[in-house]
């Protein structure tokens, strides 16, 4: 080996070290970036003894990444459900809250009892109507809240679908860079990091499974197996509804022409924000809505007036509480979608609308002109039979629609209470589930970052050893230089 070659080798060492140091500096710069992986320069020695950087690799771990993607999707589903339930809970309140339908029914009962104690006092009669009005407001308000939650979920689904399409487009660009870079042997580690970051964001929106293929190519399927990306991004489509009335059903989400959420299908997704939003829009909120509707129907049924003639011929008619379709009484035991939204206090009995509050005592609210519905036939001012009948009616067991998922028989007051507890129980379990899934996701995050992230101690150690090698190589060049200068002196 000649002196010239020794210098060349030392200089190849110097240039290799400077490349390695630049990689260490990149690693250190990204120490706080959760998506960055540790980069390593692959140093090889060539024939003749020089060294060169053959390529740059990164510490990736596909299995841990897959675990993270699954855990993240599943945690996102639950956290979306949890926050929607919180929103419902905040609007509707619990059993003890004064604004909940359950406690307002109790308030109505107590004002009826007060009225039965002093039936001749019209002012007390007016408090019954006021209590009824509050109850109606509460049911209307709750329906609005549920509708808002559903509309919010629907627009969030549209936003999520938009995000998914954007992420898939980004993924396509990055995947193209990775495939081209891998086959041409250039450094693709940054593109790989960016692509993994897109995958992580995608897993927030929808449950995914990523499959690696040759040349660094990757295909993405949903957790239910629908193709989202294979060489090109597939279209995810969704038609947002302008306003979801309680009886309306939201549109399904399609990916690659297959419904993945919104209608029951074998290829429906099970995790990600999208799955949670659809669950709220199509299952949780409508169920709660049907419970409110059943409370409203129970109230209309309880306060219905029957034909008091000796031989009743007329059908029962809506009394204190009526609705858009009044005075006909809705079919018993069958939910009427949106009833809680259209229930109102009969104007005939509401003093503020020119009605007469004493009709609560006397009956005939449904049609003050028709004597058939008047209970107090003698017009006695101390008549309390009808009031007593109403108080008993509120306690009487009734049949409710089984589709509302809570007890099928019981008094309206009990049913309203169970509805509140149903929501509370659901919220409680959703909150626990969300916490546990969040914990799993956090664990997956930390094991992924431990396995692939940048460790500052390790980088500093590398930096020291690189510095030493650099010094040694420079010393070699120095030595060769002084040898040659000795020789030059000898010849000069």
């Amino acid at each position: 080996m000649t002196l010239t070659q020794s210098t060349a080798n030392a200089s190849s060492s110097l240039s290799t070290i400077s490349e390695q140091i630049s990689i260490v500096s990149q690693n250190i710069a990204r120490v706080n970036n959760a998506d960055a992986t540790r980069k390593v320069a692959n140093v090889v020695s060539g024939p003749g003894g020089g060294v060169s950087v053959a390529g740059i690799s990164r510490t990736a771990n596909k299995l841990l990444l897959d675990t993270y993607l699954t855990a993240n999707s599943s945690s996102q589903t639950q956290s979306v459900i949890n926050s929607a339930l919180d929103q419902l809970q905040n609007t509707v309140g619990d059993t003890d809250s004064e604004t909940s339908p359950a406690s307002l029914i109790a308030k109505l009962t107590s004002s009826l009892q007060d009225y039965s104690a002093s039936p001749q006092n019209d002012a007390v009669g007016a408090t019954v109507v006021t209590a009824a009005q509050e109850l109606v407001n509460s049911l209307n308000g709750a329906t609005q809240a549920v509708t808002d939650v559903r509309n919010q979920a629907d627009s969030d689904i549209a936003a999520s679908v938009n995000d998914i399409n954007n992420l898939l487009a980004q993924f396509q660009t990055l995947n193209q860079q990775v495939v081209t870079g891998t086959s041409s042997g250039t450094d693709v580690t940054d593109a790989l990091d960016a692509r993994d970051a897109v995958l992580k964001q995608l897993s927030t929106e929808v449950g995914i499974r990523a499959v690696s293929r040759e040349n660094g190519d990757m295909a993405i399927y949903t957790d239910s197996g629908v193709t989202l990306f294979d060489k090109t991004a597939r279209k995810v489509t969704f038609q947002q509804s302008s306003n979801l009335s309680p009886s309306a059903v939201g549109n399904p989400v399609y990916a690659d022409g297959v419904p993945i959420a919104g209608t029951s299908h074998v290829m429906s997704i099970s995790s990600g924000k999208l799955a949670g939003l659809v669950e709220i829009r199509d299952s949780i909120a409508p169920t709660y809505q049907s419970q409110l509707d059943e409370v409203a129907r129970g109230l209309i049924e309880t306060f219905a007036e029957s034909d008091q003639s000796a031989t009743p011929t007329l059908p029962d008619a809506a009394g204190l509480f009526t609705y858009g379709g009044g005075p006909t009484i809705p079919t018993s035991g069958t939910v009427v979608p949106g009833l809680a939204g259209s229930i109102k206090v009969n104007p005939n009995v509401d003093p503020s609308q020119g009605g007469d509050a004493s009709l609560v005592r006397d009956g005939g609210i449904s049609d003050p002109g028709n004597p058939a519905y008047t209970y107090n036939t003698t017009s006695g001012s101390s008549y309390t039979d009808r009031i007593q009948q109403l108080i008993t009616g509120l306690d009487t067991s009734r049949t409710f629609d089984p589709s509302s998922q809570i007890q099928q028989s019981g008094s309206v007051a009990d049913y309203a209470k169970s509805s509140v507890s149903w929501l509370e129980a659901l919220r409680q379990s959703a909150s626990n589930e969300a916490e546990s899934r969040q914990a799993t996701a956090d664990r997956a995050t930390s094991s992924l970052s431990q396995a692939t992230g940048v460790n500052l101690d390790e980088e500093m150690t590398n930096l020291l050893s690189l510095e030493r090698t650099f010094q040694a190589s420079s010393r070699l060049i120095n030595t060769v230089d002084s040898m040659l200068s000795t020789l030059l002196q000898a010849s000069g």
């Binding site: 000649t2 060349a8 003749g48 081209t180 041409s184 293929r213 629908v226 074998v266 020789l487």
Partner: protein
Amino acid sequence: MGLYGVMTTSVSGMSVQSDRMGTVADNIANINTTGYKAASTEFATLIAEGSVAEYVPGSVSTIPRRSVSQQGDFTYTKSATDLAVSGNGFFMVESADGTPYLTRAGNFVPDANGDLVNAAGFKLLGYNLLDGSSSSVMNSAAGLQVVSSASLGMKATASTSGVFNAILPADADVTAAADLPSANGASAEYAGKTSIVAYDNLGHQVTLDVYSAKTADNTWEVTVYNADGASASGGFPYAAGSQLTTATLTFDPTNGNLTSTSPQSLSVAIPNGATVSLDISKMTQLASDYTPQEGSANGSPPTAVDRLEISKDGTVTAVYKDGSRVDAFKIPLAKVASPDNLTAISGNVYATNKESGDLQLGTANSGGLGAVISGALESSTVDLASELTTMVQAQRNYTANSKVFQTGTELLDVLVNLVR
């Protein structure tokens, strides 16, 4: 006669030492010239015929040598078209006027025409593998073409083969015959759908929708549609003629694999494209959800050449932007019987001559020819230390010769003074 002889001999001595100094100067000047082979000088005596009683000084002549066969060290570069030969062998290059030469200077870069040209302006020669237009001649540069990326335009590759491999859910509901995807009804039901991108002859993207539906226990129907014919909502019913193929698969209930009698591949005729042989032999039926494991087809959309890659055996591969590769040229290596006797010509190239022997072309990395190393250059073989040593020697020898000459002149002086 004697004294004049001494003077002419010492003059020839000085002359060969200055020749030697010339090689040192040349070597040191070319210390960083890629592919330069160090020159050296050998000397031969020229004996003057004398008689027994008389010594007639002869003289010395220079025989320049170039150690062409000596391997230079490698310097690594970032350019894939920087080439070096590790071992015997030379690149074949041609000058601007088309004369073929041999060289070890592999610092090639593509010029405006896409031709690979080295620093001295010589173009690299190779066999064209794309059109097969170059004939391989063992002992001549005839049939070689300039290696160029110009002939490599955009290209699209039609898909010819693919893989589809999914786990089918064994517990799925049996689909009624009228609702099978193959019936193409609006109410079609299926247990799973995967779409695969394939390419037609012109590089258009053709998306294949592959539906799997259970027809009976352990029996599945796989149907492939062209997604172009899908309904507005992206699914059934497809336009007439969109169904590309359908097949019935039977699975072995003991292990969930395809039975041996079941089809192992599907022939999918792409419209205006090739027939894709879709390998489905790895399909399984298990008590799980529908899980696509692999779904891909070969082929590529129209892409341009991204860069050239050169392998050890001299194959020049065009790498397209989508990652596909096409072998475009083969760079042969040349050898001669006596490389040190090659005639050196300006630009680090050599020409064959009678002493060097005839040209022999062969494939790199075989038959005693060296390997082509991409991304490296062969440094000059000059060693500064030995050149300086040689220089000191030449200087001293020159001085000694001049002393002999001086002494000869002085003796002549003495002789001339005798006459006075």
